[in-house]
Each structure stands twice: as structure tokens, then as C-alpha cells.
């Protein structure tokens, strides 16, 4: 797990596989704003393949890489995300809703995943 300048967590392939086993993969076929600057994401997003960009003041500040997770800490802490996120067509993502995240934290699924999520949630805000 790597930390970034922006509130993004890069997960290693083993953790990505674990997440894929508890939440389905969805393909975005149309360009969509996942959430807007200052909002709390309604779910957390894990990019598997495709293009997601973080935008502030109409400028692209960061393009996510495969395996990047965003919105987890903000969703659980109910805090705002400092940038907008846009997904482009033909992008594969896993979204984790709050109920699933709480199940993971409650060790319903996997203890390693639970530990990583706890670490992300308690990270200092950027």
C-alpha cells in the first residue's frame, strides 16, 4: 500500500483480488462525474482498468492508475474529498459501498483487508 500526494491509496494486486471477491466489477460506459469537489463520495472507488481523473478548478490534477482506491476514508469519516473525480467511458471499477466497507472492518470477509482499511481510514487528511 503506497501513499500519494492526493487522497489516493495504491493497493497491491493481492489486496485488489481480495476486494474483487467481495464487490462486483462494473464497467462505466459513459463519461460520468463520480463526485464533485467538496462532496463526500457516496461509495469508494477502486480503479481496475481505464481512465479516472481528479479535477480541481477545471484542471486535471491527477490521473489515477490501476489499483488506486479513492473515497474510502472520506466515506467512513463523512469528510469532503478535495477534488472532483471524473470517469471516462470503458473504465472498469469496483465500488465499495458503506455497508460492504463496514462488513470488511467487522472482519466479515478478510482480516488483512480489514487492517488496511483501518489504516486508510485513520490516515491524516491531506
Amino acid at each position: 500500500m503506497k501513499k500519494n500526494q492526493y487522497p489516493i491509496t495504491s493497493l497491491d494486486p493481492k489486496l485488489i483480488d481480495k476486494i474483487k471477491s467481495v464487490a462486483p466489477i462494473h464497467r462505466y460506459t459513459v463519461s460520468t462525474d463520480l463526485f464533485y469537489e467538496g462532496q463526500t463520495p457516496v461509495v469508494a472507488f477502486l480503479l481496475l482498468d481505464g481512465h479516472v481523473q481528479l479535477v480541481k478548478n477545471k484542471k486535471v490534477r491527477k490521473v489515477l492508475n490501476s489499483g488506486d482506491l479513492i473515497g474510502l476514508r472520506e466515506l467512513i469519516n463523512h469528510s469532503p474529498f478535495p477534488l472532483s473525480a471524473q470517469v471516462l467511458p470503458n473504465t472498469d471499477m469496483v465500488f465499495l459501498d458503506k455497508s460492504t466497507i463496514l462488513e470488511i472492518l467487522d472482519l466479515v470477509h478478510d482480516s488483512e483487508l480489514s487492517e488496511v482499511f483501518k489504516e486508510i481510514i485513520h490516515e491524516e487528511a491531506v
Binding site: T29, T40, V42, N77
Partner: protein
């Protein structure tokens, strides 16, 4: 930095929502779990073609639900206000969203994920009943719309639209008229009754000339509801 959440117990739309019959304890569970956001005018809650995440509950503001056709033209399916929910149909069918939801003004909207709302439906019969009632009303409105499009002319459809907006957004004025408290562009109104802008503008002018309606800036005021009802051929 934590955001201030609107608690369900203190929500201004509490009494008109699907959770209106819950106790404060039950509502506090929902408050704890939900995500509350303010969507600025023009921001999308969800987009046609994408997978649904859960249920959106409008606390304050107006949200338009619209579909874009193959020709790129937008048609407004319905307008959702405080106390209404959106996304419930896609939630049960597990189909992708068939419409886009966009804030028409700065709006406060709460979100509950699918797993949580399904659990609430199983455990709280009043929530299930209110959602069923909501789905039934939506279905009735959709059936009325289809029959209106087939059986009524533009003038009748406009009269019907004004009466529907009166039901959802009407406020009585001091002089006994009814002000429709929502700003809609002519283009938006035209898409709601399936006509061209020019035709809509012509019929609005006719209604004004005949004393059925008047305008206060961007707001429409209904002066003669009975005459509108006779044109719309409905009983609201």
C-alpha cells in the same frame, strides 16, 4: 475535516419522505449510515447508463430526472422535490440507470447504499410500504403521461402540466392565486409535454391572454384553476 450532516430527525422533508413513520431511534440509524451532500445547480446525482449504487433521498431542492434520446435530445421524465426518493426503481431491478438526475438548484440530497436500504425494507414494514406506494404512484404517473401523449393535444397537455406542477410545487398567494414555485425554462417545459419551444411559448401566451395564468419573473402563477382543469380534462 468532518462535514455537518443533516440528521433525518431534523430533516425539513421528514414528514413527506419514505421514512416518515419511523421512530427517532430508527431514524438515527439511518442518519448514522447515510451520506449527505449538497449538489450545486447542474451537478448530476447519477447518469443514464451507469450502475446504481443505492437510493437518493432529497432533503431540499429540486432534481430533474431526464432521459437523453438517440438524437441527443433531453426529455424531462419528472421533477423530484424534498421528501421524494430517486433511484428506487433501478435498485430493485438491478438495471443500469435509465435516466440522469440533475440538480435544478442547489439541493441537499442524502444517499443510502443498496445493502442498507434492502435491510431496512426487510426490517421496517413502513419503509417497504412507502416505497411500494411511491413505485405505484410513479407507475400511475407514467401511465397518465403515455395516455396524455396519445390522447391530448399540446394545449391540453400544457394545462395538465401546469396542474401537476401546482400539485407538487404550488403555493397559495395572498390574493388567492397559486404560484408555481419552481423555475423551469421554456425548453424544459417543452420537453415535459413533448413539443417544440415555439409551440409551448405560443400556448403560454394564449393562456396569459385568456387570463388562465400570469407570470412573475420566471415563476408562473395560476389565476384560473377551474378553466385549466377543464382544458386538461383531469380531476386532481
Amino acid at each position: 475535516m468532518k462535514k455537518n450532516k443533516t440528521s433525518c430527525e431534523n430533516c425539513e422533508s421528514r414528514m413527506s419522505g419514505v421514512f416518515c413513520e419511523l421512530t427517532n431511534d430508527e431514524l438515527s440509524d439511518i442518519s448514522e449510515h447515510k451520506v449527505t451532500n449538497v449538489y450545486k445547480k447542474g451537478q448530476n446525482l447519477f447518469v443514464q447508463g451507469n450502475h446504481p449504487y443505492g437510493l437518493y433521498c432529497v432533503s431540499r431542492g429540486n432534481i430533474k430526472v431526464s432521459k437523453v434520446g438517440p438524437d441527443g435530445k433531453e426529455s424531462i421524465v419528472r421533477i423530484v422535490k424534498g421528501g421524494d426518493v430517486i433511484g428506487h426503481r433501478s435498485l430493485f431491478t438491478d438495471q443500469n440507470y435509465t435516466a440522469t438526475a440533475t440538480a435544478m438548484e442547489d439541493s441537499t440530497v442524502c444517499f443510502l447504499d443498496k445493502k442498507f436500504i434492502m435491510k431496512a425494507i426487510q426490517q421496517l414494514p413502513s419503509v417497504a410500504m412507502n416505497i411500494i406506494e411511491k413505485l405505484s404512484r410513479d407507475m400511475g404517473a407514467a401511465e397518465n403521461k403515455v395516455s396524455s401523449f396519445h390522447q391530448k393535444n399540446v394545449r391540453e397537455r400544457l394545462a395538465e402540466l401546469l396542474l401537476l406542477l401546482k400539485e407538487s410545487h404550488g403555493e397559495k398567494t395572498d390574493d388567492g392565486k397559486i404560484r408555481i414555485n419552481i423555475k423551469l425554462t421554456r425548453e424544459e417545459m417543452a420537453t415535459m409535454i413533448g413539443t417544440a419551444n415555439e409551440t409551448l411559448i405560443r400556448f403560454i401566451s394564449e393562456f396569459k391572454d385568456e387570463g388562465l395564468i400570469e407570470q412573475d419573473g420566471k415563476f408562473i402563477i395560476i389565476k384560473d384553476e377551474d378553466e385549466l382543469m377543464s382544458w386538461a380534462d383531469v380531476n386532481y
